[in-house]
């Protein structure tokens, strides 16, 4: 089996030749290649090259074009601050002065902000890897994009104070993300992972997620499947226990679970959904290789009978991680 076939088999609860291992290596790929992070996040060609270099070094089962959480908001008018060797941060929100979304224009994925760089990276990865390795694009969840347009506090207060305006903005965000995700699939992504950190129960209650976000995620994922995504992958960090039961209805095929979620709880909540996780991200910085192997083995044992499991970190592996620890996780599935 090649990496792509291995992941597809696992997602469908068929027996792979070995458990897939997907390190959530984003900015770390730049560090590994000696490229400043600010260059990595602005240039699709550099991004693709660094991802390919990291793949060659670690030999895991997927590559990512995850850049940062500001691609979409930048394309909609937010102004970013690009700092040396750091992820970009928002300097001015697109909806800073008013909540009127009527002046927001639907981005052109071929022209707006760094969206074309993401598409460029995907085309290079697809040309190089074809269907040998899973190629993962990325869009935000509708709630997270909304919070990136207004700022988290303002967005959440808007949800309570003016729910109609908030829902209008959520719907607009959902349309932006649908277009961007479909453009990524056309450019070569096997699927766009949906990153939705603002939808975490650490931020909003589970009933808020159910009412506002779940229906829009369902719509988004339906569009991606129709557009050719091989699976739907949802990534919500933090204590997601209370929202996991909503995932099947949303159409999630792969559910990321963070280090703070108990594996048994995740398995019970999602008996028929592929799970990926959940080694503590900071462990790749602070711990040693034997700790990572031990944590990996524990997870592999726990999921050995169930199947439908991809060994991974709970969230992004920090850019400053020690390569030895990432290599240890990859090695664990081959022991």
């Amino acid at each position: 089996m090649n990496s792509f076939e291995r992941v597809v088999a696992t997602v469908n609860f068929k027996k792979p030749d070995r458990i897939p291992v997907i390190a959530q290596v984003f900015g770390h790929a730049a560090a590994l290649s000696g490229v400043p992070l600010d260059k990595y996040i602005q240039d699709g060609e550099i991004l693709a090259r660094c991802q390919l270099d990291a793949l060659e070094k670690y030999e895991y089962d997927a590559v990512f074009t995850v850049v940062d959480v500001n691609i979409e908001t930048e394309a909609l008018g937010s102004i970013l601050d690009y700092r040396k060797n750091q992820y970009a941060v928002i300097k001015k929100y697109a909806l800073l002065d008013d909540y009127d979304i009527d002046h927001l224009k639907m981005p052109d994925c071929e022209k707006s902000g760094r969206m074309p760089e993401v598409l460029k990276a995907l085309k290079i990865l697809k040309k190089t890897l074809k269907d040998d390795v899973l190629i993962v694009g990325c869009v935000l969840g509708p709630l997270t994009l909304t919070t990136q347009l207004l700022g988290l506090e303002k967005a959440l207060y808007l949800a309570i104070d003016e729910p109609e305006k908030f829902e209008k903005l959520l719907d607009f965000s959902c349309n932006v993300l649908t277009n961007f995700g479909l453009a990524q699939i056309s450019a070569g992504a096997h699927l766009p992972i949906v990153f939705d950190p603002s939808a975490s129960p650490a931020v909003v209650p589970h009933n808020f997620f159910r009412e506002f976000e779940a229906p829009r995620l369902k719509k988004l994922f339906h569009s991606f499947k129709t557009g050719g995504a091989i699976a739907n992958w949802l990534h919500i960090a933090g204590p997601s226990d209370t929202i996991l039961p909503y995932y099947p209805e949303i159409g999630v095929d792969i559910a990321n679970f963070d280090y703070c979620v108990n594996s048994q709880v995740a398995m019970s909540a999602l008996p028929e959904t592929c799970l990926d996780g959940n080694i503590k991200p900071l462990a790749f910085v602070e711990n040693n290789e034997s700790d990572i192997i031990s944590a990996s083995k524990q997870l592999l044992n726990m999921f050995s009978k169930r199947g439908g499991f991809i060994l991974s970190s709970g969230c992004e592996i920090p850019p400053e991680s020690r390569p030895e620890t990432i290599a240890a996780m990859v090695q664990a599935v081959r022991l």
Binding site: E153, I160, A202, V203, K280, P281, L282
Partner: protein, 221 residues
């Protein structure tokens, strides 16, 4: 002038319950009206804080256990608390006596400040004086503020792991300025994955309430 933290104000329990109810509900307007009614009846500002705002935070803290912690509920209550504080202490005035000063910051490279803002709201409601250094704050700014304000503790919030090397330096820089007595508390999604020994801090808080409980403990409140 109100007596600071005087005991014995005769307060209608129904009215204080109403204030707590509106604060927990996040209803700023009605919470301010309730606080005004209490104050008009002669209840001191300090008693409104102790029996109304502090009690709200105790109830919210008990409700928002680590397992059921969500920021939205706390934000809404916190916004109502801050509105009541603004009514009690209009701009330019402040409580005469507080439980002590805490300096808070998100360090350079971290522009996420919601966690820090939540801590500020909870500390304010619990009767502390809070000096907010904002986000993206340099260690020098933090230490300069500590020298000026003489806090008993510093709270550092961190959502990104890249600030960890900076967090580790804070103790040493404080000590070099003779500020050894200041306790350092860390929290936030990135920092709480670590250990206090690794970060060279005195406490790692799981949540804003966990942090406040630690501060109450070291102040003997």
């Amino acid at each position: 002038m109100d007596a600071p933290y005087s005991k014995g104000d005769k307060m209608d329990p129904k009215k204080i319950d109403a204030l707590i109810h509106y604060l927990l509900e996040g209803n700023s307007q009605k919470a301010v009206v309730s606080a005004k009614e209490l104050h008009d009846e002669g209840i001191s500002k300090e008693q409104i804080i102790i029996q109304g705002l502090e009690e709200t935070m105790i109830q919210l803290g008990a409700k928002c256990t680590v397992e059921q912690f969500n920021l939205l509920e706390i934000m809404l209550a916190g916004r109502a608390v801050m509105e009541v504080m603004k009514y009690l202490y209009p701009e330019g005035t402040s409580p005469e006596e507080t439980k002590g000063t805490v300096v808070i910051a998100a360090l350079e490279g971290d522009v996420h400040d919601l966690g820090k803002n939540i801590l500020k709201m909870v500390l304010t409601a619990k009767g502390y004086s809070v000096v907010d250094c904002g986000k993206d704050c340099t260690i020098q700014q933090l230490v300069d503020t500590a020298k000026e304000q003489s806090p008993f503790a510093i709270g550092i919030s961190g959502l990104v792991t890249s600030i960890i090397p900076l967090v580790k330096q804070v103790r040493e820089v404080l000590n070099s300025q003779g500020l050894d007595q200041i306790k350092i508390m860390a929290g936030g999604a990135a920092l709480k994955q670590s250990l206090k020994e690794q970060l060279n801090v005195d406490f790692i808080a799981d949540s804003a309430f966990d942090g406040v409980n630690y501060l109450e403990k070291i102040r003997g409140k």
